[in-house]
Point group: C2
Chain length 296, copies 2
């Protein structure tokens, strides 16, 4: 199967699964439930579930484990977008061409929906079906996801992003910011799959994490490039919004050509990390190509 068809399949499947998970919650707070559902099924690209699936298939991990891990990661990802879009944060009114959660609902509901989606990730990780083997490692899965999402990962990255917006920083600092803000959760996709793999060696695990960290950074460089080269329509959010907000980006620090060179370098490094793994890495290679060549 081509990666594009597989991606389409994964997208449809996770959309349905997340919808089911939210729909089966009781109707005690319907507006909050609607906001959670809205934010979770808002047309996301589902790159993280795709990465979980490709890595999981490569390592022969049962679908049920892949599914639970993907759902938990998407809950964390969705919560982070809802909170990042808030007026006090990035103040974005559009995401993927649709009103952001606090516009479609209201600010209080958006804060709570983000909060409840974060909790939902950990509920899923502890209670959603998994294989017997994975079932024994749920606490380690929670620890891995929490580390990637919290102060030492995504939240820390967002804090550095806010603190440095408007001030010029160096490339090393920008990389650290994105390694925390975007890279940590992408790396967690791979780490969590490794945790439920009975056979993988530490060396191979390390190579896969290195791969994930590198494509996480490449993803962000491409994001920054698209922010200035793609149209608002293609992006589903206003073009040039990073620059308008005074954000540090790879093109703002390196120039557009410099950013493109950085992207090519990271692309090469990601493929290098896969090199020598005793698995069929064909799909992960295609995934890397997709990440760096996407146009939205």
């Amino acid at each position: 199967m081509q990666l594009a068809s597989l991606h389409e399949h994964i997208k449809r499947r996770i959309d349905t699964e997340l919808e089911q998970a939210i729909n089966q919650l009781p109707d005690t707070a319907t507006r909050l439930k609607q906001a959670m559902l809205y934010s979770l099924t808002n047309g996301g690209k589902r790159m993280r579930p795709l990465l979980v699936h490709l890595t999981g298939n490569m390592l022969d991990i049962p679908e049920t484990d892949q599914r639970t891990i993907s759902m938990a990661i998407e809950c964390i990802h969705a919560y982070s977008l809802v909170h990042d879009d808030l007026p006090a944060m990035d103040d974005d009114e559009l995401r993927r061409g649709k009103p952001t959660c606090h516009i479609a609902f209201d600010e209080a509901t958006a804060i709570l929906a983000g909060d409840a989606l974060q909790t939902q990730a950990f509920t899923l990780l502890c209670e959603h079906p998994m294989s017997d083997y994975a079932n024994q490692h749920r606490a380690r899965l929670v620890a891995t996801l929490a580390r990637a999402a919290g102060y030492q990962g995504m939240c820390g990255g967002q804090a550095i992003d806010l603190a440095t917006t408007g001030d010029a920083i160096g490339v090393a600092e920008l990389k650290q910011l994105h390694q925390l803000k975007t890279g940590a959760l992408l790396t967690a996709c791979v780490e969590m799959i490794c945790l439920v793999s009975p056979d993988i060696t530490t060396t191979h695990q390390r190579a896969l994490c290195q791969f994930a960290q590198t494509i996480g950074l490449a993803f962000q460089v491409q994001d920054d490039i698209l922010d200035i080269t793609a149209s608002t329509e293609t992006l589903g959010k206003p073009n040039g919004s990073d620059v308008a907000q005074g954000k540090n980006t790879f093109p703002s620090l390196l120039g557009l050509e410099g950013a493109k060179q950085e992207l090519a370098k990271l692309h090469h490094e990601a493929l290098q990390a896969l090199h020598g793994l005793p698995y069929n890495t064909q799909y992960l290679i295609a995934f890397t190509d997709l990440m760096v060549s996407r146009n939205h």
Copy 2:
């Protein structure tokens, strides 16, 4: 030891432990770290750690397990206060006589500090030292805490609170709101201790949870009463703020005398739930008295 001295001891101990847990985080995002610390050590009454400790001692649970459970619960509690105080939520500028997190720092930092404190709770529950027995039950502890904190607990309760503020509701609905908003986390204190107790029977577990649910409600009734009878100075926040915000309270629905009668009824029910347990419930009885007779 008298309950008051024990409470003082627990307060000091958990303050130190939480401070240490935050201080040992790396300095990647110092302002966020400061905000997390500020919110966690903001002079809280530590009723939940006290309940964990009293239940834990009664059931002979190792101190190390009590500590980890208490720390995780206080992280969830602190995060919920930071977010509840935000301008889009209850818009409170004072808590325990000090500026709330978004006043002392800023709104974006307060949102992130709440987010990161929630994650921190799950990190602690998975990684902080516990006994061998408790160590095998970490995933169930996470599931219990997540359920109490998320849509089916605290977040759901806060959503109902926001949705009903300004509209008169019935006593049953007000009770459900508080059972979710405050009761779920207080009940989780007891549930989590029961989870790490190798011996407790389902019947006794159920009685202890019933006890916790009842004191959770009693705590809230007393809170509502204090909001109109205590001074701003004693409360550490403006007196009458519930009424000013158009919140439904037990006195607003039942009158002050009716609310006091409800409190007495709940007090009696809590003691009834303890009756017949084959443990020394002396401290839990004293705790109940403290909950209903506290003046701030």
